[in-house]
């Protein structure tokens, strides 16, 4: 699992291995472990990517799936 931008600052880490069979299960693990991070991930502006593709619904995860949480983006 990967965190970017302010989410990584909030959690204090950017990358971790977390066993979970689905996105919902992963959120459940985070809710128990770090409620502030869980709350931040629920914000509508935070997008979720699984294996580098954006997803909007719950999806099943494999043991090698890469989940990334993306806060509002800004380049330039």
């Amino acid at each position: 699992m990967l965190l970017f931008g302010r989410l990584a600052d909030l959690a204090g880490w950017r990358e971790r291995e977390i066993p979970a069979a689905s996105l919902a299960a992963l959120r459940g693990v985070l809710a128990a472990e770090d409620p502030a991070l869980f709350e931040a991930l629920q914000a509508p502006a935070v997008r979720t990517a699984v294996d580098q593709a954006l997803v909007t619904l719950d999806v099943a995860l494999r043991s090698d799936s890469e989940v990334a949480f993306l806060p509002p983006m800004s380049g330039g």
Partner: protein, 148 residues
């Protein structure tokens, strides 16, 4: 083409190279974005990307710009990592048979990069660090292209 670059680059050199050997291009427009010091409030800017994902997302919009404006070629250079005030953060160039398409394509690509491209930007200065997110103005700029 989109390239993420770690080290400072020379936008003039990038433009010179982009223009080279074009005998059917009537117009090349370019835009260079520089890091601002914000009157001493910013010492360093840090740009984070999601390698692989960031390039692919930008490439999708680059392809959309080429089709929409009938471009012959585009180049986007975008810094990642720590950037000092005065350094170029982003360089966009568009080549087209005529000028209007080239101007508009740079405008379009920059509006996209400002508020949608997968980068996360943090400014650090004497008052600490802050994450920069798209402003209302950035969103309004991008919305101009959706209604046309």
């Amino acid at each position: 083409m989109i390239r993420l670059v770690q080290a400072p680059f020379d936008p003039g050199e990038a433009l010179g190279e982009f223009c080279r050997d074009r005998t059917e291009t009537g117009a090349v427009a370019s835009f260079t974005g520089l890091a601002r010091a914000e009157n001493g409030r910013t010492d360093i800017l840090e740009l984070e990307a999601y390698p692989g994902f960031t390039e692919r997302e930008i490439a999708r919009h680059e392809a959309a710009a080429r089709e929409r404006f009938g471009l012959q070629d585009t180049l986007i250079l975008h810094r990642t990592g720590p950037i000092s005030p005065g350094e170029a953060i982003v360089f966009v160039a568009a080549a087209a048979p005529h000028r209007r398409a080239a101007f508009e394509a740079c405008d379009f690509l920059m509006d996209y990069l400002k508020s949608r491209a997968p980068f996360w930007k943090k400014e650090t200065g004497p008052d600490g660090a802050r994450w920069i997110e798209p402003t209302e103005r950035d969103r309004d700029d991008l919305a101009r292209w959706e209604t046309q």
